[in-house]
Symmetry: C2
Subunit: 124 residues, 2 copies
DNA sequence: GTGTATGCAAAGCTTTTGCATAGGT
DNA sequence: ACCTATGCAAAAGCTTTGCATACAC
């Protein structure tokens, strides 16, 4: 990626505006609002580049597959609302990492997914 | 599923023998050892039935997608070895569930994935 | 003007489905 | 004999890739 195109800018703007894990479809649809010609192949190619260079990280949703979010945030976990299917980032870490695995396992990383109902859907 | 076929028995035997989260491909290959004609469509259909009736649960591996494991175990989490790519079940739960999400979120379920090196690969 | 990134279409994978038939009951 | 579950092949997602061309530089 050596040229700054309108497509590339549109995709980065999507992440700036919607700062949460997004599906490829969300990225495509939001991006098309500013660049209607935006193609799904371009989205995938750009996501790959941004993931490879560390700007984005993948998040795996139990039912929706791969989501993408901006990197560089503090360590956090994810909450998926079963009602509205939106992904949330939750600050902090409630995992007792030292107790998480038996002796003999070397834990280098971890991910925590919470599933339930978000405040919006409870209020609704 | 109202009939007990050799395919069905073969698939259940695979889970009995390899009591850890398995990929569809692993299930197919292991199953074909006893029923060579076993077809991938049958595997998917059987996995769907066993998942729907609660005998199996899905486990989502960050890179390998959906794995299947037998249900009815105590609450546990998963460890994925980055070296040998094997999935382990870890007993217990080191998550402080009450602290996991801010007020306003209702946490119904959670999953924890640990990534690192397993004892076998450390020893090797 | 040069060469990269895009759009389009085709191809790869994984998973699902339609249909004729083997085989469990 | 009946009718479900299977195998096969086609289809339906999702993601990647080849190729001509638009466009950033």
């Amino acid at each position: 990626m050596k040229r700054i195109t309108s497509q590339r800018r549109a995709i980065e703007a999507v992440f700036a505006k919607h700062d949460r894990p997004l599906t490829v479809e969300e990225i495509l649809n939001y991006g098309r609002k500013s660049v209607p010609s935006l193609n799904i192949a371009t989205v995938y190619r750009t996501l790959k580049i941004l993931t490879d260079n560390g700007s984005l990280v993948k998040v795996f949703h139990p039912s929706f597959g791969t989501l993408y979010e901006r990197s560089g945030k503090d360590h956090h976990h994810h909450f998926f609302c079963r009602e509205c299917n939106r992904a949330y980032e939750l600050p902090g870490c409630a995992l007792k990492v030292d107790d998480a695995a038996p002796d003999g396992f070397v834990v280098e990383d971890h991910e925590v997914f919470l599933l339930g109902k978000c405040p919006k859907c409870i209020a609704a």
